[in-house]
């Protein structure tokens, strides 16, 4: 029963968040002065075009009615219709999502695969020279923005060494190895930063745990150092790391917007930028809402995971 109540509470708060976001997104576009059709078409459009577009955008209706119409559309899975491509936004997302999703998945995978062993190593060997050096390196990793790293990676591996392609995406359907080749640099650009963050966090949590009473108890009853570390400390330290992972997933999504553009990958990020460039408001509005929805869902899932792993949370 308590679990159900917890679930309902979480769902409610997620819905309220989404409602507020939809208002914000819609509101921001209302703040633009003048006729959006003129803004989209610019100074070289003929008045007939502007009139036709105004009708298409349904601008004759009052804002509240337009908002209601938009929200009603959202409920039926209709995110709006792109002005430039003349197709539903959801269709464009369907085409671009695989690229962004595989980039995000690869980045997350790299982050987890690197950060868990490295942080265990660092926690075990705290205060030694090499680990201290690695920790310092992590600080650099956190400080460097992914877009800059992306440009640097392209310059080194594509322009100078010419090992990997730049600006040439191969879809998985065409060639798996080709797709991996075109995703590896962007995934590296995103995951170096996130890996550094996770390592720092995980290492510190493990060090905290290591100094706890239960560790001393376990050790004193004869458990080996490694056994304590893997069986007890890591388990406890992973708990907050799950929340962390939720945040990282959001970071990865944000990072991919910039990185996709640098590497010319046809994903959601590039779609947003081109939507902005073409002043395709319905497309941008639909995409921003879609991203917000993704973030809310990821957080919801993280909350569920958290409760599943740690019964104290759902029972409190």
């Amino acid at each position: 029963m308590r679990t159900a109540a917890y679930l309902i509470k979480k769902l409610l708060s997620a819905s309220v968040t989404l409602a507020i976001i939809s208002l914000l997104i819609f509101g921001v576009f209302q703040l633009l002065p003048g006729n959006p059709a003129t803004i989209i078409l610019g100074v070289d459009a003929d008045p007939l075009q502007v009139q036709a577009l105004s009708e298409e955008l349904g601008l004759d209706a009052p804002p509240l009615q337009r908002y209601a119409r938009w929200v009603a559309g959202l409920f039926s899975g209709d995110l709006g219709r792109s002005v430039r491509y003349q197709v539903p936004v959801i269709e464009l997302i369907r085409q671009s999502l695989p690229v962004t999703a595989s980039l995000a998945a690869l980045s997350l995978l790299v982050t987890v695969a690197l950060s868990v062993p490295v942080s265990i190593y660092l926690a075990k060997n705290n205060n030694k020279k090499l680990p201290t050096f690695i920790s310092a390196l992590m600080q650099v990793g956190i400080a460097v923005p992914s877009f800059w790293l992306a440009i640097l990676l392209v310059m080194v591996f594509a322009v100078v060494l010419r090992w990997l392609p730049s600006g040439d995406f191969v879809p998985f359907s065409q060639s798996v190895s080709g797709a991996l080749r075109s995703l590896i640099l962007p995934a590296a650009a995103i995951s170096i930063g996130t890996t550094a963050v996770v390592i720092r966090y995980l290492k510190n949590t493990m060090l905290d745990q290591l100094s706890m009473d239960y560790v001393r108890t376990a050790r004193s009853k004869g458990l080996g150092k490694n056994k304590v570390l893997y069986r007890h400390v890591l388990k406890n330290a992973l708990l907050p790391a799950i929340t962390m992972l939720g945040m990282i997933a959001v970071d990865v999504l944000g990072g991919s917007i910039i990185v996709e553009n640098v590497f010319n990958l046809p994903g959601i990020g590039r779609l947003i930028i081109s939507g902005v460039g073409n002043r395709d408001f319905p497309l941008v509005q639909g995409l921003v809402f879609y991203l917000a929805l993704t973030v809310v869902v990821v957080n919801f899932v993280v909350d569920l995971l958290y409760a599943a792993v740690d019964p104290r949370i759902r029972l409190k």
């Binding site: 075009q49 440009i151 392609p165 040439d168």
Partner: protein, 532 residues
């Protein structure tokens, strides 16, 4: 452990933060993408060639040229497409009754010749024989009729071209190679509608498998990545446009940096670049640049004091040094203009205008005559997303200070500019770029008192009469003479300060040659050949 409330709050904040960052990066993106003036015509493009080995030994027909395309195509079917850079690609696949050359003059394409009726109300086109669509079918009068009736909505469906739907009354085909188009009223600007792509009658798949008569055949379009074209071996329409490059890939690249990297890593052969990037590319690429049929103007609101005074407007024209602006703002990559037409439109451009030569003393004495000996305050309102215009405003501020005019630069959002300046005309002066298509009317009509977006507030019945007359004159040389008078008229009245046509710039691989710049964005791949 934190309370749930705290964590909810935290989640909420996180989401809002992400949403806000998204929105902010949007506005930042706006600024970045709109930096260079004309959003329409400034889009780059172009080509490249093959792998390193190709240049020495491979014949041109085996070469693949890769050209950067600034945005995703909106629709491959020319009837349904409105985007300039989509048309710039698809004009290799499709052709119109007429084509156009680098000077903006019309040249015969599918039509071999045309005659305008003396009353200007109908045009008769005689088609070339032997022009074939890529599927092997002959292109005849019935295809032209099909295309124009569909565009104008004469078939009872919704029209696809607003000008044609207002002007075109009927299409007749006396025989297979003759087409007569009849208009509702005289409009010499109708010629710019003769370049519209002719589509095959009854063929419904132009959006997915485009078929035209052009020098290149459509191969494939991979969404988000590229449009691939190949040489049409049987091409015959325009002799000079017989293609030599075997395969062309238009690679969709929205990011300036990605473009630069791809050029440097050999993944691109041709790309439109900004002036600083052109300089950064160095010796590995040839730089091709030229006017892009745009006029950058310091627009003066002729209805507000003191700009309603001719002498004040003339003084400003004498005080502004355009060469200095071009040198400082676009690194010399611009062509000075004296009136409201770009030199791209060679036939109509008046290159013999009696213009204002920079003369500070003359400017001062004109201000004195106008009663502004001590100068005055002038606000230049500039849309904040166009760096070129902002930089120009800075230079002009210094130049006008020399004659005692105290300039205050006001930066505003693009949307605010469109609303306040362009629509409501609530401003003193502003800097903006206007681009044209193939009709000089697009530019010169903007100063007529009946034009709905005449934000210059310039009204002069003599000027209106001149433009109306030019618009109805079908003889090209007479029409050109009238438009040249219009240009001089605007200079005499100092209607505004016409500054420059900022160049469009292409980086072209050293292996290639022949890139030409057109008054309407057109990546004419037939121009490109491999250097011998």
């Amino acid at each position: 452990m934190k309370t749930r409330k705290e964590r909810n709050m935290k989640n909420f904040k996180r989401i809002i933060a992400v949403a806000l960052v998204g929105i902010l990066s949007l506005s930042a993106g706006c600024a970045a993408t709109q930096k260079e003036a004309a959003p329409e015509n400034s889009v780059p493009p172009v080509t490249e060639s093959a792998s390193p080995s190709a240049a020495q030994s491979t014949p041109a027909s085996d070469v693949t040229v890769r050209v950067a395309l600034g945005s995703e195509p909106d629709n491959l079917d020319p009837m349904l497409s409105a985007a300039t850079d989509t048309a710039a690609v698809m004009m290799n696949v499709y052709e119109g009754l007429m084509g156009f050359d680098q000077k903006g003059d019309f040249i015969p394409a599918i039509a071999q010749s045309y005659t305008a009726a003396p009353d200007g109300l109908s045009y008769t086109f005689t088609l070339k024989k032997g022009v074939k669509f890529h599927d092997g079918k002959d292109c005849t009068a019935k295809d032209v009729k099909y295309t124009y009736e569909k565009l104008a909505g004469l078939t009872g469906e919704k029209p696809l071209n607003s000008t044609l739907s207002q002007e075109l009354v009927k299409v007749e085909t006396p025989d297979d190679y003759t087409v007569v188009l009849t208009l509702k009223q005289r409009d010499a600007g109708f010629m710019s509608k003769t370049i519209l792509s002719i589509e095959e009658e009854g063929y419904a798949d132009n959006s997915t498998k485009p078929i035209g008569t052009g020098p290149y055949k459509f191969v494939e379009y991979i969404q988000g990545q590229k449009i691939v074209l190949e040489k049409n071996e049987n091409y015959s329409t325009i002799a000079e446009r017989k293609p030599t490059i075997g395969k062309v890939e238009f690679v969709i690249m929205t990011d300036e940096n990605a473009k630069l990297m791809a050029l440097k890593s050999g993944n691109l052969d041709i790309a439109g670049v900004s002036a600083p990037n052109a300089a950064a590319l160095g010796d590995d690429f040839s730089i091709v640049q030229g006017p892009q049929n745009m006029v950058q103007v310091l627009a003066l609101n002729n209805a507000v004091k003191p700009l309603d005074n001719l002498k004040v407007r003339q003084a400003i024209n004498y005080a502004v040094n355009k060469d200095e602006i071009i040198g400082a703002v676009v690194d010399g990559k611009g062509t000075k203009v004296e009136s409201f037409l770009s030199p791209s439109m060679a036939t109509y451009y008046n290159d013999n205008i009696a213009a204002y030569k920079t003369d500070i003393e003359k400017a001062k004495s004109l201000l004195k005559e106008a009663g502004y000996e001590k100068g005055f305050d002038l606000t230049i309102t500039v849309p904040s997303n166009y760096q070129t215009h902002i930089d120009t405003a800075q230079v002009i501020k210094d130049q006008l200070a020399q004659v005692g005019i105290n300039v205050n630069i006001q930066l505003i959002e693009w949307a605010q500019w469109l609303d306040g300046v362009y629509t409501k005309r609530d401003y003193q002066s502003t800097i903006i770029g206007h681009s044209g298509k193939l009709d000089p009317q697009d530019f010169l009509n903007r100063f007529t008192s009946t034009y709905d977006k005449n934000y210059f507030n310039f009204t002069n019945p003599d000027y209106d009469k001149l433009v109306t007359e030019a618009a109805a004159t079908t003889d090209i040389s007479q029409r050109a003479a009238l438009y040249k008078q219009c240009q001089q008229f605007l200079v005499d009245q100092a209607a505004s300060v016409f500054i420059q046509d900022p160049h469009i710039i292409f980086a072209v691989s050293k292996k290639l040659d022949g890139l030409q710049i057109y008054p309407v964005t057109f990546f004419n791949m037939s121009d490109i050949h491999v250097k011998s």
